[in-house]
């Protein structure tokens, strides 16, 4: 069992938890993920590591309440325990040798982008961060990003905070002004990452995306997390759990990933409603 050491609501739909998992905390690096089960009959869900404390032996997760499992998870409190917590899985984000990087985070994806920004900042890299949200209510981690970045753009779709518009607006302005980076790293909804890739492509700057497909075992066994890369005109199947979750954004077939991600949409919605009803009683 893995104890919840602390819990904090970041906004009405996003929660942060610190989990006691010394084995995972000892090894976790930005960009890697864990798989958890809330209870004995629970499903396995992957969540990207949002932070870790090697001394305390804890791992931070930040999750959005989107389905039955995250709803149940959100009903656990400090002192409660998760049934299973395994990791760190996947390959850590490549940070070595980077001098100037632009991090683009969207929504709850910012939770995953933050430790990467922090790590880059620590190794002396110049970090520009662009973080985007639908509206002010959904804003998270602004102060943390400010501390890790030499420049920060906060965007909201409706203009209720920061600047109005999506994350591509400042990106295009920077590129338009001839600014360049060693790499653009983007994490967020698939559609956002697709647009960030498209905006970055003309500059030729390498663009890394963090994929979060449906997974079961997460250890390279089931193949459910497969995605297609277009490498030099050839279609190549890769597995996000062992080959990723980071991939070269120019190669990823986003349309396919979006379609596959929606496979159990109806089931998930139903499970979410059921979980909500359960807690109403």
């Amino acid at each position: 069992m893995y104890k919840i050491v602390s819990k904090k609501e970041l906004n009405p739909t996003v929660t942060k938890m610190e989990i006691e998992a010394p084995f995972v905390a000892a090894k976790a690096e930005p960009g890697q993920f864990i798989i958890l089960r809330v209870d004995e009959e629970g499903e396995r869900i992957p969540l990207t590591v949002a932070g870790y404390d090697r001394q305390k032996g804890t791992v931070t997760i930040i999750f959005q309440i989107v389905g039955g499992t995250t709803e149940k998870l959100n009903h656990l409190e400090e002192g409660d325990s998760l049934h299973d917590f395994v990791g760190p899985l996947g390959v850590a984000t490549h940070t070595e040798g980077l001098k100037k990087v632009c991090i683009v985070g969207g929504g709850v994806g910012c939770a995953i982008a933050l430790p990467i920004a922090q790590k880059l900042h620590e190794i002396g890299c110049d970090v520009t961060s662009v973080i985007g949200f639908r509206s002010k209510d959904l804003l998270i981690l602004e102060d943390e990003f400010r501390a890790a970045s030499s420049r920060l753009f906060v965007m909201t779709d409706d203009g209720s905070y920061g600047r109005e518009g999506n994350v591509c607006v400042p990106l295009n302005e920077m590129f338009g002004a001839g600014e360049t980076f060693d790499e653009v790293i983007t994490i967020g909804p698939l559609i956002m990452m697709k647009f960030v890739v498209a905006a970055t492509k003309p500059t030729g700057i390498p663009c890394t995306v963090s994929m979060n497909p449906i997974m079961i075992d997460g250890t390279g066994m089931c193949g459910g997390c497969r995605l297609t890369l277009n490498q030099d005109g050839k279609k190549v199947t890769k597995f996000a759990c062992v080959d990723g979750p980071d991939f070269n954004g120019y190669e990823v077939d986003f349309d396919e990933a979006m379609s596959r991600g929606a496979m159990y949409h109806d089931f998930e919605r139903h499970a979410y409603e059921e979980a909500c009803n359960l807690f109403k009683k």
Binding site: R44, V86, D217, T219, M221, G223, R226, T228, V242, A262
Partner: protein
Amino acid sequence: MPANMNPKKNPMPTQEAAVRAHNFQEVATGYSEEVAIDEAMRCLNCKNMPCVSGCPVNIHIPEFISKIKEGDFEGAYQIINITSSLPAVCGRVCPQETQCESKCVRGIKGEPVGIGRLERFVADWHNAHATEKPQPVPSNGHKVAIVGSGPSGLTCAGDLAKKGYQVTVYEALHTAGGVLVYGIPEFRLPKAIVQKEVDNLVAMGVDMETNIVIGKTLTVDELFEQGFEAVFIGSGAGLPNFMNIPGEAYKGVYSANEFLTRSNLMKSYLDNPVTPIMKGGKVAVVGGGNVAMDAARTALRLGAEKVYIVYRRSLEELPARKEEVEHAMEEGIDFRLLNNPVEILGYENPDDRRDPKNGFVTGMKCIKMELGEPDEKGRRRPVPVEGSEFVLDVDTVVMAIGTSPNPLIKSTTKGLETQKWGGIIINEDTGLTSREGVYAGGDAVTGAATVISAMGAGKLAAKSIDEYLSDK
């Protein structure tokens, strides 16, 4: 007592095909005491024991069968227990027809003795009647780590624990058992039986650590740093193979690993599951091995109206156990032999990109095959019949065409040599890898194979580890 000279085996009682096709309860229900004794009486107790040479773990077969003849079922169990750690499992899933039973003298003029059925009977009798729990053996002070709790790992752990080693088994998933739990379905191997075997090991003092991925959470080198003196790698099958034909990313295309893991490990077969799976509709399973049979029969039990096995060769070349093929046919699985998929078709509404049906499987285009010249292994090569393409109307496709070994350990263990295709290279006489103190066996070495061959490998490694550490 005179031998029972009936040329035929006592048939295995099973659930009616029409009934079992709709439930997940075990297909074969097992011999009664009377039938077991009657079957045991067919054994001639040959002096040279050809059957034993056919068993990868060399169970003392005529000896345990003699005990059954006497009605001493617990005695029979104790004899099996000397060499096998998982009799209730082996009695169910071993391909006895190509192993012990293929060597049986009774098989020359009739059917061999039903050794597998007797083994299962003995193990089940023990599980139902035994009151004494296995006891820990006094420790010899040596620590051994086992990677993976599948058949090879459990066997290796059991054999070492019996000799007094302090054994820790590391399992990546949340439940111990490996392929016995996530792969083989309930109707062929009830999960309670696997759990019982795992519980027995724990009672013997084996430390079972779930949720630890060796190669990620801990590396093999760190295990040595922690004081383990030898490591056995039984990490099992890895990433599933796909055919690399168009359409394999459509929704409704599963690997057999994913399909079976959802149903078995994550219990998607329940009426109100937490982990979803596509149920019902028409299902095509591609492949002809035991895993393909498991997937097809699982799909049927999940409520499919029609299930096809699509296999590119003919019935004769089907690699699955004969019994599994017969069971599948009885249950109404439609075998489309000499057929090979060339493309999976999906729904695309050109007028509405948001149509929720977009991207779901609607069919599988196949081509008919004929058998050509034999290849180097003597198997006749299937050749496509030009212009014979047709579309099979299906909603779900399950690819059961093998796996390649898990990459996590290879990529994090320096000096561990592997084959080009990823299998760990071992000395076949000892199970030793290219690293001192590191042994390996099972699918991680051989690629997809059987439970019993994995157990044989676990057993061999346990013996070698014992010799290695005794000399140290």
